[in-house]
Each structure stands twice: as structure tokens, then as C-alpha cells.
Symmetry: C2
């Protein structure tokens, strides 16, 4: 189906639907309703129905959506079926963990190689190469890489970021706990651990107060 303008909030919920749909057993019913999905994920059914309507038009009253079609349409919408090449900068523990994560295949992400100021090894366990920073620009240009993952310490994140932009990178997944200044046309997506921790921490504080009071 043709893509409608979609809001960020909807976009962020789609991967959750997709993961659930994919987790269903082969022999499950070939149809699934928005209601069923909503119940399974503990969400409002109207919200789910509206979200699905944005990306798939195979819904039939009384029946629901064909499961396979839904998976296909969400995947396609999210761009999971044409892989995106990315480079990773900062081959520390987190960087290596991300490089070794097999699941990114499912999301259409392919980490080509890593770069590090002082590479401790030539390649990771998974056989991905780790290059010194000097090679960054030529590699990105040669492979026409548009996405980068930043897993360096906060102090050097901005300079790495600047350099990546000079290499033609247009989307940055930032794991460094710091704000990155970029030109308007470049997208930075912060994987913000501090944010998640804040939410958890708040919850526990309230719980503890509750118990004491």
C-alpha cells in the first residue's frame, strides 16, 4: 500500500507489533485482529487498530488482518527488507556487543566494520574487522555508508560525530551519554540509558516511599 504520513509515535509502536506477530507459532490462525494484538501487548485496541490501518489495508471486518500480510507490510514500511549498511565507531565492550548481535539482521541493519582510535584487535569474534580511525573516511566513501553507530566515551563523541558527518553519514545512532550538535539535515537517534534509568529509578523511589509511609 502507499505510505501515508505517519507520526513518530505510531512509528515507534510498529516494531512491537511486528515482533509479536513474528513470535506467533507457524500453526497459529492466519488471521489476527487489532483487538487480539492489543490484548496480547496490553495496549488500547483503538490505538492498535488505527496504527495498523496506517500501514496495511488488508483488514476485514469480523476476520481481522492476514498475519503474513501484516508482517510484510510493517517490515516493508519500516524498511527492514532492504538492508542498511552502517559503520560502528568505538570498539569497546558495548561496541563489540552490538557488533556481535545477530538480531540486527531482522531489522535490516548490517554493521560493515568498526573503527577505533586504538584497535585492540584486528577483528572481532564474529569476524568483523576493526580498523584504526584513519581509515574511516575512505571506507565510508567507498562503501557509500549513510548510517553510523557511536559507542565511544562521551568526551570524544562530538568530535567523532563531526568526523562522521564529513564522511557523508546522514543518520547517527548515538550510545554516548551526551548531546550531539549536528546540522539540521542529519538525524541523531539517542539510545538514552540515562532516560530509561530515570523512569525506573522514579518508580522505585515511589515504591519505597509507599512502603515506609
Amino acid at each position: 500500500m502507499e505510505h501515508k504520513e505517519i507520526s513518530k509515535s505510531v512509528l515507534k509502536r510498529l516494531p512491537g507489533y511486528l515482533a509479536y506477530l513474528k513470535s506467533l507459532p507457524e500453526d497459529a490462525s492466519p488471521y489476527i485482529s487489532a483487538t487480539a494484538l492489543a490484548n496480547a501487548l496490553g495496549m488500547g485496541e483503538v490505538q492498535v487498530r488505527k496504527d495498523l490501518a496506517m500501514v496495511c489495508d488488508g483488514g476485514r471486518p469480523k476476520v481481522g488482518y492476514p498475519r503474513e500480510l501484516l508482517i510484510e507490510d510493517i517490515s516493508q514500511f519500516l524498511g527492514y527488507d532492504n538492508t542498511t549498511d552502517a559503520v560502528l565507531v568505538g570498539a569497546g565492550k558495548l561496541g563489540q556487543a552490538l557488533m556481535g548481535y545477530k538480531g540486527f539482521d531482522d531489522y535490516g541493519l548490517n554493521i560493515l566494520a568498526a573503527f577505533d582510535a586504538a584497535p585492540a584487535m584486528e577483528q572481532t569474534e564474529e569476524g568483523k574487522r576493526v580498523y584504526p580511525m584513519e581509515k574511516l573516511e575512505s571506507f565510508c566513501r567507498k562503501n557509500n555508508v549513510l548510517m553510523a553507530i557511536i559507542t565511544v566515551p562521551a568526551e570524544v563523541a562530538q568530535s567523532v560525530c563531526d568526523r562522521l558527518i564529513q564522511c557523508g553519514i546522514e543518520a547517527i545512532w548515538n550510545f554516548a551519554p551526551t548531546h550531539l550538535d549536528v546540522p539540521e539535515k542529519i538525524l541523531v537517534q539517542n539510545e538514552n540509558m540515562a532516560t530509561s534509568l530515570a523512569v525506573l529509578s522514579m518508580h522505585l523511589q515511589a515504591k519505597i516511599k509507599e512502603k515506609k509511609g
Copy 2:
């Protein structure tokens, strides 16, 4: 100051302010205005001002906020100054990366130990112990642990989650790419890589289309 009711959206922005304030050099001005903060982080100044007003009342017209007080108040508000003990389940690559991350100290998070169905080692490089799953319950009870980090594969995440709840855990930081079903009183915070990737992927798709078209 006394805590007002705070919305989740505000809560999620606070760690960003705090990180920036802490990154300022010692010899920077002891005062900072909401305007200055907003500019530095590329945000709306009214939003920042309102956010700060929620957690700190040391703001003075024309001057701004005392930097140290602001840091103190945000830290306290987020509960970063009284540490929370946590256990981690799933000592794979990601689990080990998180266990080795020194930065959690700053957020008041202390990972006591890890648990794994088949521990590959007795302790991690950082000297944190890795126990077999059998020890989970007694450990949590003995140490009165309320927070857990899940870094196991999606397939076993729900069963691990159920077990953690039986151990008295009340807040779960979930890195497994799957929905967790929990009782109402338990908080699950999903660290959703798929969501971030969806946003990045969307952006790149639009960029590419733009270039072609």
C-alpha cells in the same frame, strides 16, 4: 525543594540537562540560564525553563540558576544520589557490556551480580560474580534487590521475568526485544533498539528517495 507531580515527558528530559551541566568546566560561570541550556541542547527555551522550574526553585531573573544547585536538585530528583542495587540476568555479550559500564555509578545504579543459565565464567573481568540461575531467588531475597536487568534472548525473557517477580523484583529494565507481561504494580522499562532503528531507518529511506526523485 518539594517534589511536584511530574510528567513522564519532563522526567525523560532531565537526564539530558544533568549530563550537560556536569560536562561544563569547573571554571565556567556558577550561574546558567534556561535560555543558555536550551541553546546548548538545541531545545525550546520555554520548555527548558518550565522543566527546570519543576525541580529547582533557585532561579533568579536576569541571573539564571546556580549551576551547582541545579545539578544537586536534578540528581536528587532522579534519585541518583541514593544507589539502587540491581541484578542482571543473561551474561552474554550485552550483559557483560552493561556490567562493565562504569558510568552507571553516576546514575545511582549498582549491578550486584549476574545470573546465567549456563555461566561461562565465575566472574567478569570487572570482578563481578556470575551465578547459575538457581541462586537467583536466594540472592535477591537476601540482598533485598528491587531492580533487575534482563539481557537474555527474547524466547526466554518472559519466563525469566516471571521468576524475577517471584523474587520480589519491582522494576525491570528489559533489553530483550519482546513484550513482557507483568502485574500492574511492576514496572517494565523497555530499552527498545528496534524502535530506535525504526526511526533511523525511516529517516534514511526518506533521504534516499529524495536523492533519487
